[in-house]
């Protein structure tokens, strides 16, 4: 359905763009219908930029993004509208996703005027009711209100309902629950699970490993714009190979097991995992690839045929 090949993004800053910073370099992955992929990385890893490039909110400097075979970057205004009928996004801050000057219904109204203009009032109301029910929202609690009168959880759920109005094929969810309280967070996450069962592909962007693990089928670990590890979620979490992934999993606070004493300790200040030369992705096991940087013990790794990595 969606395929990213060698996608790279370089931002120009400074006076007339003299300085350059590489946010994303050579990222490639595919998303099948009904598949949830979590894109995990710390701040500055470029994960949000990947999401924005897929949504064509910023252009890719190199590489290609194809959706159902057609190249997204070459879409004109009309084709882009068609694309947005299949691909939608939900963002991090619910209170920034709604224009405070209007009632929340406007967000739904925009979808109707842009994509479903000739829908009868009757059909529109049933479609609206169905999508609100799908996100367990009672129309009366939500419609006709201003954003500041609703909770973060309700606003995010309404955002998903908005996407459901379009029977989308693919959703980019960029840190959609990091601003929510723990208790309402999980309901929104479960919604993504329901979407998955309706065959919608989801890119779940987050910095929180436990959330990524909970909801996704496959996981991609990003570091400073590069994929360091990628594959089936149980494999990546169960058998992390790249030192960066290991460090991340090691540092995550669990509710029932204390941090392993010793090793890391206070000395581990922003410990730099070796800034080694970036090696190509090598398949460690089926559906589990790791970047072959130095310090990555690739015991039993087979070179990834497609990538043509050297034999180790």
């Amino acid at each position: 359905m969606l395929e990213l090949a060698g996608v790279t993004k370089v931002f120009k800053t400074g006076m007339f763009g003299k300085e350059e910073t590489t946010a994303v370099s050579d990222v490639s992955f595919t998303v099948q219908p009904g598949e949830v992929i979590s894109l995990i990385g710390e701040s500055g890893s470029g994960k949000t930029t990947v999401g924005r490039m897929i949504l064509r909110l910023t252009g890719a400097t190199a590489g290609s993004i194809t959706f159902d075979g057609s190249d997204v970057s070459r879409f004109g205004r009309r084709a882009l509208r068609g694309y947005y009928a299949d691909v939608q996004g939900v963002f991090q801050d619910p209170f920034s996703s709604y224009n405070p000057v209007y009632k929340v219904d406007r967000v739904l109204g925009m979808i109707r005027s842009s994509y479903l203009p000739d829908l009868s009032q009757e059909d529109w109301r049933t479609k609206l009711r169905k999508s609100l029910e799908a996100v367990s929202l009672v129309p009366a609690d939500v419609l006709g209100k201003y954003p500041h009168q609703l909770s973060g959880g309700q606003l995010q759920r309404l955002m998903i309902a908005r996407a459901l109005l379009l029977d989308i094929k693919f959703l980019v969810a960029d840190e959609i629950i990091s601003m929510l309280d723990a208790s309402t967070r999980i309901d929104v996450l479960n919604l993504l699970g329901d979407l998955k069962e309706r065959g919608v592909g989801i890119l779940f962007i987050t910095h929180d490993l436990s959330l990524g693990n909970y909801i996704s089928d496959r996981t991609i670990i990003l570091r400073r714009g590069r994929i360091v590890e990628m594959g089936a979620t149980p494999k990546v979490f169960g058998n992390p190979v790249h030192p960066y992934t290991q460090m991340l999993l090691f540092a995550v606070p669990h509710l029932h097991s204390k941090w392993a004493e010793g090793a890391e300790g206070a000395a581990g200040w922003e410990h730099e995992v070796s800034e080694s030369a970036a090696g190509p992705l090598v398949e460690v096991e089926r559906d589990h690839l790791v970047a072959s940087d130095e310090g990555t013990s690739l015991a039993g790794a087979q070179p990834q045929q497609a990538q043509g990595g050297e034999n180790r």
Partner: protein, 317 residues
Amino acid sequence: MSLAVDNLRVYYRTLKGDVRALDGASFTVADGEIMGLAGESGCGKTTLGKSLVRLDGRMQVMGGTVTLDGVELPIADDNAMNEFRFREVSIVPQYAMSALNPIRKIGRMISELLDSRGVSYDETLPELSRRLALVGLDDGVLDRYPIELSGGMKQRVVMVLSTLMNPSLLIADELTSALDVSTQKAVAEMLVEFRERKFVKSTIVITHDLSILYQIADTILVMYAGKLVEKASAAKITEDPRHPYTRLLIGSLPEVGVRFADRRLEGIPGRPPGLLNPPAGCRFRDRCPLAFEKCAEEPPFAEIAPGRFAACWKAGS
């Protein structure tokens, strides 16, 4: 000795009336104890933390007393409180990364602050650089401007500065929420290190992240809608939570290992009540699965077992 808070009430004055952000908190924190203060946004934990150090803007103490090491803190009187600030009670603020004056070199700012509090900078310098080294910073930091440091480095400078006078009580307000996983662990462990090295006697760590508290806190106090809900040791509160809210809250946290496919976690339906005129009785009543008619009467925050407190009629069973 330790911190004892008795029926502390702090409200926010607004145009439409008083928001009863903190409505009667009574608890104690022993010496050497790291108490986690957890709860969802708007539950009053930051209000509690701030009121122990400095009331800002529209906060007003409505009642209750706070005693630290046997001495009652004049928290309602801003000037009188000055004497205790920094020396006895200190805070690492939520905005630690932007708490340093941008136009002063860090060393100069610290020396001006110490002078203003009648402390000689030169005498403190050796200890200061020792503590900076402890958190992985060299003396060169003192000669640079805040803009030249990374967010993490600035936060560590603030942590060292706030605890420089070995305060009896340290409030750490949402220290880790803005950090990445890697630095989060180091910062959290540093708090424990500060206690081990007697930089601070007792610490209150304010955060919404229960798993961080499980790692470093001795006890955890959970708050909901301006009220204390449950307090117990970190282990007990996670394994055997007694208050329905705590139980549901912990139940909704996805642990690494739990997957959607095999077990679908449940959140807590509904929303916390508005605190402009909160409902009578237990404030969790309309979201609580165990609610019954007695809940109309507010449950006291009582000791249900040695070292365990809860505010629920059914918590005792």
